[in-house]
C-alpha cells in the first residue's frame, strides 16, 4: 500500500479552479478576508494536521479537510475552499468523519458455515480460505457463472476497476454488476444513445452562467444541498428556475415555475413542452440541421402530445406546459439538470431522452451556461461504471460484446480472448437468478441491497437461497448480517483513490489515518482472493496508485480517456474532467463546444420517445402513487448515517407524507399497502404533496422500509428499478412499527446514543419541518 503522509498532504498547494473566473456566490471573500487562510489555520495547533480530501457521500464530492490529531486519528472536519464547494458542506459531510473511528467498525473478519450459526470472529486466512473453497466448490459443480460479484459506486474508481477485472479474470464469471445500477444508469443510457458519451455535458460552474435552469426530478435541497449555491448564484444573476417535482421541495418552493407533476408521466410532459416549442417557432432550426439526426421522427412523435393531452396525463395545468416551453426555449442560455426523479422508472431512459430532445431542439447545448447534466446520487456513481464494473462494460467504457474492444482489453490484461466472459445481467436480475438457483454464490462489496433494492421479499428470498454469500463492509449492514463471511475493510479516510463527480471531474481522496488493526483495504482483499484463486499474477497491486496506473493505460484512446490524469496532477489542480488524453491536456469540463459528439458521425442522435404508463397499474384498490426519495440527513441505505448521532437526531425515523385531503392528522399511524406488502408509518400531513401521491424516504430496513413496498419492474434498456412510482393505498392503522437499530457486530454492546428509536407514534421530526404542527 502506498501511504500518504498527512503532514506532507497538508502542505500541498491549495487547489486551483478549472475556471478561476467563476466562483459560486457568497464565497469570494472568505480567502481574502485577512488573517490566516482557512487551510493553514489549524496546521500548527496542538500538532493537529489537516488532510485535504473529499466527502464520501453524494456525487457533488465536496472538498473538505479531515482534522487529524497528533496520534494520527481523524477527529474532526474543517471546510475546504475547493473549486467544487468553496467551503460549503451539508450535514452529512460535516458528520462523515465520525464514522472513521466509530465503535461499530468491524475490526476482524466474521465467519459462519451456515446461516443457522452465529457469527464468530476469525483470522484473515480462515475467512479468505473458506471463501475461496466455496467459490471453487460452487464453480466446479455448476459452472463459473454460478458465482457472482456485486460492487458499489462508493468505491474509488481503482477499486471498481479491480472488481470488474476480478470477476472476469479471477472468478471467470460474467456475473458482475454494481449498485450504481440503482442510481443513474438511465441517464447514462440516454446520454450514450444521444451523444455517444456517458456523462453530464457541463460543469456545475456553468449553472452560474445560465439564464434558465430546469431541474427535473431532483430534490436538490435535500439530496445535493451544496449544489444549491449554484442555483442561487444563477438566480442572483436573474436566471429563472423551473422545477418539475410531485412535491413542493425546498427549491420548488422558491422556483419561478413549480410543476407538481404526477409520478411516472415525465416524458409525456417533456414531449408536450417540445410540442409547444415547435408550435411557437422557438426551435433552433440551424443548429438542428447542422448537428443532429432523427429530428423529423421526433417532431412527428411530439405532435401527438398537445398540452391538453399531456396536462391530463401529468395532472398539471396545460398553461404551465406552455409557460415552461416559452421560458426555457426563450432564454438566451438554458440548462436542464435531472436526477433519480425521472430516472427511476420503467421508462427512465426515455424520460432522459425527452429532456435531451428539448435541450437539443432549442439549441441549448455545448455552450457556457447551456447544456444538460445528471446529478449523481452516489459519490462515484459516475466513475463507478466507467472502468468495467457494470455487467456490459469493460474498462474505458468499452462494450463487452464488441470484438475489437474485447481484444484490446485482453491484450492489456494478458489473457486469451476466449477466456473473457460475455455480458452478464443487472443487479436486480442477479437477485432473480439467485432465487432460481442459477447464481449460487455471491460476493458483495460496498452495497446494502436489503435496504436499497426494491421488493424486499424477493431480495431476501434470493439471498437466502444462495449457498454462499460474502460481504465487504466497514459496518455490519443489514445485507452483511445475512452473509457467511464478512470482510472488515477500510473507510474512505484510510486509503487513497479517485472518484468522478456529477460533472465527470475526477478528484482525489487522500489517506488521513491508518486503518484500525485487523482492517484491510478492499484492494488488498480482492488481490488476496485472486491470488488464492490462482490469478495472482494479474493482481500484483500493492495499493491504489499502482491500480490507477493500469487503469489510465486501459482507458487510453477510449471515450472515457483517463490517460492524462495522474495523482500528481489531481493534487495540483483539485480535479480534472475526462476525457483527458495526455498529461498536457487540461481535461474537458464542457462537452460539444465544437458541435461534435462522440458518435462516429459527430452528430447528436435525437431519439423518439413515446410515453407509456408505469408498470404497476392503478385500480380502485390501489388508487394512489407511492414515490420514494431521500432525506438530507441520511445517505442511501443508511448503513453509514443511521449510526451517527447528530444525523439520527435530525431524522430519527421514516414517515409517510400525505395530503390533508385524506383526513389524517399528524402522527397518525398510516398503513401503506401495495401489491408487494404493507407497512405502517406515522403520517406527515402536508400540502407540499399532490393529493394522489404519497411519499416515503427509503433509508430504513424492514419493518419501516419503503423498498418492501416498491416494485421490482425494470427499464428494459437501463435495467434500473421503478422506485419512483407504484400503485398504493393508505388506511388507518393502530400503531407505528418500531424503527430497527442497525445490526450490531458480535461481541459488542449496542450504542443507544448513536441510534434513537421511537416506538410511540409521535409526529415525525422532519428535516423540512413538514407537518410538525397540527393543522388548524
Amino acid at each position: 500500500m502506498t501511504a500518504t503522509d498527512p503532514a506532507k498532504a497538508a502542505s500541498r498547494p491549495v487547489p486551483v479552479s478549472i475556471d478561476p473566473s467563476i466562483a459560486p456566490p457568497g464565497t469570494r471573500n472568505f480567502r481574502d478576508a485577512g488573517g490566516i487562510p482557512a487551510d493553514q489555520w489549524h496546521a500548527d495547533q496542538n500538532g493537529e494536521t489537516l488532510v485535504p480530501t473529499h466527502c464520501c457521500f453524494c456525487g457533488v464530492q465536496c472538498g473538505m479537510y479531515l482534522r487529524v490529531d497528533k496520534g494520527g486519528k481523524v477527529f474532526g472536519v474543517e471546510p475546504r475552499n475547493h473549486d467544487i464547494n468553496r467551503m460549503r458542506l451539508c450535514p452529512k459531510g460535516i458528520n462523515a468523519y465520525q464514522q472513521v473511528n466509530h465503535p461499530d467498525r468491524l475490526t476482524a473478519p466474521l465467519m459462519r458455515r451456515s446461516r443457522d450459526e452465529e457469527f464468530k470472529e476469525c483470522s484473515w486466512d480462515e475467512a479468505l480460505d473458506f471463501t475461496v473453497s466455496e467459490i471453487r466448490r460452487i464453480q466446479e459443480a455448476h459452472g463459473n457463472d454460478a458465482f457472482g460479484l456485486l460492487g458499489g459506486a462508493s468505491l474509488f474508481s481503482e477499486k471498481t476497476y479491480l472488481v470488474g477485472k476480478f470477476a472476469r479474470v479471477a472468478l471467470k464469471s460474467k456475473h458482475v454488476d454494481y449498485n450504481g445500477r440503482l442510481c443513474m444508469v438511465s441517464a447514462a443510457g440516454a446520454n450514450k444513445l444521444a451523444f455517444g458519451i456517458d456523462r453530464a455535458g457541463n460543469p456545475f460552474s456553468d449553472i452560474l452562467l445560465t439564464d434558465c435552469l430546469l431541474i427535473a426530478g431532483s430534490n436538490v435541497g435535500e439530496c445535493f444541498p451544496v449544489m444549491t449555491q449554484y442555483l442561487w448564484g444563477a438566480r442572483d444573476r436573474g436566471a429563472s428556475l423551473i422545477v418539475i417535482d410531485p412535491r413542493e421541495t425546498a427549491i420548488a418552493r422558491t422556483a419561478d415555475i413549480h410543476v407538481a407533476i404526477k409520478p411516472g408521466t415525465d416524458s409525456a410532459f417533456f414531449n408536450a413542452v417540445l410540442n409547444v416549442v415547435i408550435a411557437e417557432g422557438l426551435t433552433d432550426e440551424a443548429y438542428i440541421a447542422a448537428n443532429t439526426t432523427g429530428w423529423e421522427e421526433v417532431k412527428k412523435t411530439v405532435a401527438a402530445y398537445p398540452p391538453s393531452r399531456s396536462a391530463e396525463i401529468c395532472g398539471v395545468p396545460a398553461s404551465q406546459i406552455v409557460q415552461v416551453a416559452r421560458v426555457f426555449a426563450g432564454a438566451d442560455k438554458a440548462m436542464a439538470w435531472h436526477a433519480r426523479g425521472i430516472e427511476h422508472h420503467s421508462q427512465g431512459v426515455e424520460n432522459c431522452l425527452s429532456v435531451i430532445n428539448l435541450c437539443v431542439a432549442t439549441g441549448h447545448i455545448g455552450k457556457p451556461g447551456a447544456g444538460y447534466g445528471t446529478i449523481t446520487g452516489q459519490g462515484n456513481g459516475q466513475g463507478g461504471r466507467e472502468h468495467g464494473q457494470k455487467s456490459d462494460l469493460l474498462p474505458g467504457g468499452r462494450s463487452i460484446t464488441n470484438p475489437e474492444h474485447r481484444k484490446q482489453i485482453c491484450q492489456i490484461w494478458g489473457i486469451e480472448e476466449s477466456e473473457l466472459p460475455g455480458a452478464g445481467t443487472s443487479m436486480m436480475e442477479m437477485v432473480w437468478q439467485m432465487q432460481r438457483g442459477e447464481i449460487r454464490g455471491l460476493i458483495g462489496i460496498c452495497n446494502n441491497p436489503f435496504v436499497s433494492l426494491p421488493n424486499y421479499a424477493v431480495v431476501k428470498d434470493g439471498y437466502d437461497t444462495a449457498e454462499f454469500h460474502a460481504q465487504f463492509d466497514f459496518f455490519l449492514s443489514e445485507t452483511a448480517a445475512n452473509a457467511h463471511v464478512v470482510f472488515p475493510v477500510t473507510t474512505w479516510a484510510e486509503d487513497e483513490g479517485v472518484m468522478a463527480n456529477a460533472e465527470a471531474r475526477v478528484v482525489k481522496h487522500n489517506k488521513a489515518q491508518e486503518p484500525p488493526a485487523g482492517v484491510r483495504t478492499d484492494t488488498w482483499v480482492i488481490c488476496e482472493l485472486a491470488r488464492r484463486l490462482g490469478a495472482g499474477k494479474h493482481f500484483d497491486f500493492p495499493g491504489s496508485r499502482e491500480v490507477f496506473e493500469e487503469l489510465r493505460v486501459a482507458s487510453a484512446g477510449t471515450v472515457n480517456d483517463y490517460y492524462g490524469i495522474t495523482y500528481d496532477r489531481l493534487d495540483e489542480t483539485g480535479g480534472i474532467a475526462w476525457p483527458c488524453p495526455s498529461t498536457e491536456h487540461p481535461g474537458t469540463p464542457r462537452l460539444f463546444e465544437d458541435g461534435r459528439t462522440y458518435h462516429p458521425d459527430g452528430k447528436i442522435h435525437m431519439q423518439v420517445v413515446e410515453w407509456h404508463p408505469p408498470m404497476d397499474a392503478y385500480t380502485e384498490e390501489y388508487p394512489l402513487s407511492l414515490t420514494t426519495g431521500r432525506t438530507v440527513a441520511h445517505f442511501l441505505s443508511g448503513n453509514q448515517t443511521r449510526r451517527l448521532g447528530a444525523l439520527v437526531e435530525q431524522t430519527p425515523r421514516p414517515w409517510v407524507e400525505v395530503h390533508p385531503s385524506h383526513g389524517f392528522r399528524n402522527g397518525d399511524p398510516v398503513r401503506v399497502v401495495t401489491r408487494r406488502g404493507s407497512e405502517v408509518f406515522p403520517a406527515l400531513v402536508t400540502e407540499a404533496i399532490r393529493p394522489d401521491t404519497v411519499f416515503i424516504p427509503y433509508h430504513w430496513p424492514v419493518p419501516t422500509s419503503a423498498n418492501a413496498l416498491t416494485i421490482d419492474a425494470l427499464d428494459p434498456r437501463s435495467k434500473i428499478p421503478e422506485y419512483k412510482v407504484c400503485a398504493a393505498r393508505i388506511e388507518a392503522a393502530e400503531r407505528v412499527d418500531e424503527v430497527p437499530a442497525p445490526p450490531t457486530p458480535p461481541g459488542r454492546e449496542a450504542y443507544p446514543e448513536t441510534q434513537v428509536s421511537r416506538t410511540d407514534p409521535l409526529p415525525p421530526t422532519s428535516p423540512q419541518g413538514r407537518g410538525t404542527a397540527e393543522r388548524s
Binding site: P25, V77, R88, M227, W232, D236, R770, A773, E774
Partner: protein, 199 residues
Amino acid sequence: MMGRTIFIDPGRCIGCQACVSACRECDSHRGKSMIHLDYTEPGMSVASLPSVCMHCEDPVAPCAEVCPADAILVTADGVVQQADTTRCIGCSNCVNACPFGIPKIDLQAKLQMKCNLCYDRTAYGLAPMCATVCPTGALFYGTLEELQAERPGVQVADSFVFGDVVVQTGVAMVVPADKVQWPVPGGLPVVEINGRDVR
C-alpha cells in the same frame, strides 16, 4: 450598522441543518449546537429559518444587561460573547431577557451557552462555521456591500419591533426590497397574515 456580520436570508434556507451540525464542530462548545432551525409554516410549506444570536446593539444586549453576575461580555466590535464560565451562575435571566430566544442553559453544568459569532474564527478573519458551510447562502458572513455585490438589489433590516420596544441588532436579516424601512415585527419578517396587511 454594520461591519462584517451575519446576514440571514430565510428565502434561501433549505432546512438542511448544515449550520446546526457545523456549529457542533466549533471548538468552544464542541458537540453542542448554538443554532436552531425554525419552521415558519409547518404542514403548509417547507419554509424554514435558522436562528443565530442577533448580537443586539441597542439596547445593548438584553442578555448582558440583566446578567446579575456580569458574566456576558460585549466586545468592542459588537460581538455578544457567551457567558464567562468563571462567572456564570446558571440563573437563566439571560434566557428570559432575550427577545430572540437564543441563550441556552446547560442545566447539569449550570452554565449559559450561546453563539459568540465564532469569535475564535472571526478574530482571524474567517467566517463563522455556520455561514462558512451554509450550502445556499441563507447565512452569509461579510459586509453589507459584499452581500449586495453578490446579490444585486438585496435589502436588509437590522431593527426588530417587540411591542413598544425596538431592538437594533448587529446581525441583519434580508427583507423584501420595499420593506426595508420597516422594523421587522417579532423577529420575523411577517408582512401579511391570512391576507391581512400587518405592517
